[in-house]
């Protein structure tokens, strides 16, 4: 379960210019549910996702994951093992192969049993149709394939929460649709909590719940 209470985030540019990106936001998200955070550009969606992903630690208010404030987790452990993040620009490391990219969270984490990691990798490669691509470099992949690699990377360490920031933003609508379907399918299988940020509410009609943001405030539940 995720419980946010009175989240506030202000970007301070200089003494005169301050941007209030999140304005006293509270919500709870049940474990295993699918959430879409919807809102126009600049409404604070990414800001919120960065906080949820443990990337941004400078905010006011409290954010509990499984009853524990995320500030009490080891930051790197949290980023590696509690959440898996998917970005709009795929963000793959170009010098590494598909398989190596997928394994990155493991590379930086505690080394699990090699056999189990390989089983997991094989499973995800198969599930995401990347078996033939395991030794390719990201530059040899299409957009849809790249995003599937990113999904596999987000899932490899079996996180509790998947965060996706406009995961279809760089894809055509057909490929985007396929990616969304995959995300839901895998989410069901893995039992993770899925939080997707989008500015296109139509794409995610089958989520459990939508949180609408505008100017850093939740406007409708």
């Amino acid at each position: 379960m995720i419980k946010a209470e009175n989240l506030n985030k202000t970007y301070v540019m200089n003494k005169k210019v301050k941007v209030k990106a999140l304005d006293d936001i509270s919500f709870t998200i049940k474990e295993g549910s699918t959430i879409a955070i919807v809102g126009p550009s600049g409404s604070g969606k990414s800001t919120m996702l960065n906080i949820l992903g443990g990337l941004d630690t400078e905010y006011k208010g409290s954010l509990l994951v499984d009853g524990k404030d995320i500030k009490d987790y080891d930051t790197n452990y949290y980023r590696r093992n509690i959440v898996g993040t998917i970005f709009q620009q795929f963000n793959l490391v170009s010098s590494l192969t598909v398989a190596e990219n997928i394994l990155l969270p493991i590379t930086f984490g505690k080394q699990l049993g090699k056999g189990r990691v390989n089983d997991r990798l094989e499973y995800l490669l198969g599930k995401l149709g990347l078996k033939e691509r395991a030794d390719h470099k990201p530059t040899e992949l299409s957009g849809g394939q790249s995003q599937r690699v990113a999904i596999a990377r987000a899932l490899i360490a079996k996180p509790k929460i998947i965060l996706a920031d406009e995961p279809t933003g760089n894809l055509d609508s057909k490929t985007g649709g396929e990616i969304v379907d995959l995300l839901f399918e895998l989410n069901k299988e893995e039992g993770t909590t899925l939080i997707i940020v989008t500015h296109d509410p139509e794409l995610f009609n089958n989520v459990d719940r939508k949180i609408h943001l505008r100017d850093g405030k939740i406007i409708q539940e």
């Binding site: 941004d56 963000n91 590379t107 930086f108």
Partner: protein, 427 residues
């Protein structure tokens, strides 16, 4: 993670190579110095050890024993003691010193010309001595002749001397006669009636090779003292020895520990002494001085190379900013990012070091025969000059990596501190 860091280094092969070139140059310089200097010193030490064994001491009044001319300190001392004349009494006293095994006497003959009989041209700038040395003494690199010592009326000449008269086979020159006469220049400077028209003849019974030393002819000591007495207007050799004395004594001891003897000789007679140790320590300090100077060059180039690495690593942070953002976002810790960058710069150091060592290895292999040739022409018995020492090579490699890592510290800290959100937005 290691593999990941390596993949980043290999991604920019050209740049890695160019950056590591600085280290290559530094390593080349330093290892050239170390391998070359070490061997130069070793070679010189070996050379002197064959001439002078550790238990052999040359005792000198401060005159010239040509091998060591110019070596030793000269200080002005107000209360300088007068040196004792090296006469028979002194000889006997020294011979009585507890661990002296043998003494040979030596006189130095200057201002004389030596000419092979019936030849017109004298051997130029001859250095001659009277010396009761044995033909099997280690001083001689080579000796041809059927005698143990030079006998009265006989003379030994150097290989250089026989070569001068184009008699390369010692057997051709043995049995021939030489004439020793005052050189015209010594007559001009001395203007002494006693030396005019003097001429001494000796028969050659041996040809020797003095190695690096300049020593063209050796007479029987008594012959030399009577010649010197005659030239100087003394009544007899005995009077000459009493008034002037011998020039050097060549002492062999039973022990290699000659400190006590040296002190005794200095304190009692104010004679200087030379041993292999003295020469070696002088050589040591000369090569050491050179080494230090050259190592400084190497260190400066290492410093420049280090700055080059810092520069490259900072550039590579800008290039890898997005990537650093990615790996931090998926859970790479600051320490891990730091380590990745240190591995990168360490690798640049490693590449540079290995290139440098390969280069020096190639240069050594190529030039070694040439240098050995040169040395042998100069009279050294060298078979190799450079010796590639694997331990030193490993130390140099380790130091190259260290330079890389140290140079990488600042950029690595910079990279580790990047904010992942900002880094991800960086294009």
């Amino acid at each position: 993670m290691f593999k990941y860091a390596l993949s980043i280094v290999l991604r920019r092969k050209m740049r890695t190579f160019l950056t590591s070139l600085g280290i290559t140059i530094a390593v080349f310089l330093i290892s050239f110095i170390i391998f070359g200097m070490q061997d130069l010193q070793k070679l010189l030490v070996d050379q002197f050890n064959t001439i002078l064994k550790p238990n052999q001491i040359i005792v000198t009044k401060g005159g010239a024993f040509s091998m060591f001319t110019g070596v030793g300190e000269q200080t002005y001392d107000q209360e300088e003691q007068k040196q004792t004349i090296m006469n028979e009494d002194v000889l006997n006293e020294i011979r009585a010193f507890e661990y002296v095994e043998d003494i040979s006497r030596m006189t130095v003959i200057t201002g004389m010309n030596i000419t092979l009989i019936d030849k017109k041209v004298p051997y130029p700038q001859a250095f001659m001595s009277g010396w009761d040395v044995k033909s099997n003494n280690s001083y001689f690199k080579e000796f041809s002749g059927n005698v143990e010592r030079v006998e009265p009326g006989k003379i030994w000449v150097s290989k250089a001397f026989s070569k001068f008269y184009k008699l390369n086979d010692p057997n051709d020159i043995i049995g021939m006669k030489v004439a020793i006469e005052p050189s015209s220049s010594s007559i001009l400077t001395n203007r002494s009636k006693s030396i005019i028209g003097k001429k001494f003849e000796y028969t050659i019974t041996g040809v020797y090779d003095p190695g690096q030393d300049k020593n063209d002819a050796i007479l029987h000591v008594e012959d030399s003292t009577s010649m010197l007495a005659d030239l100087g207007g003394f009544k007899s050799s005995n009077e000459y020895i009493k008034e002037i004395g011998y020039d050097n004594l060549y002492v062999t001891t039973y022990t290699d520990n000659v400190k006590e003897f040296k002190k005794y000789v200095k304190d009692t007679y104010n004679y200087d002494t030379f041993t292999a140790d003295d020469v070696i320590s002088i050589l040591g300090s000369i090569t050491q001085g050179l080494t230090i100077a050259l190592v400084m060059f190497g260190l400066v180039s290492a410093l420049v190379a280090g700055i080059g690495i810092i520069n490259t690593m900072i550039m590579s942070i800008y290039e890898q900013t997005k990537e650093i953002g990615i790996i931090k976002a998926i859970g790479a810790s600051n320490t891990q990012v730091l380590t990745i960058f240190l591995i990168q710069s360490g690798f640049i150091g490693l590449f540079g070091g290995v290139f440098g060592l390969l280069l020096i290895f190639a240069v050594m292999k190529l030039t070694d025969p040439l240098i050995v040739d040169q040395l042998n022409n100069a009279g050294f018995g060298a078979t190799t000059f450079f010796n590639f020492d694997i331990t030193i090579a490993l130390v140099i490699t380790a130091l190259s990596i260290l330079v890389g890592v140290v140079a990488g510290v600042y950029p690595a800290i910079k990279a580790a501190k990047l904010d992942p959100i900002k880094a991800l937005r960086y294009e």
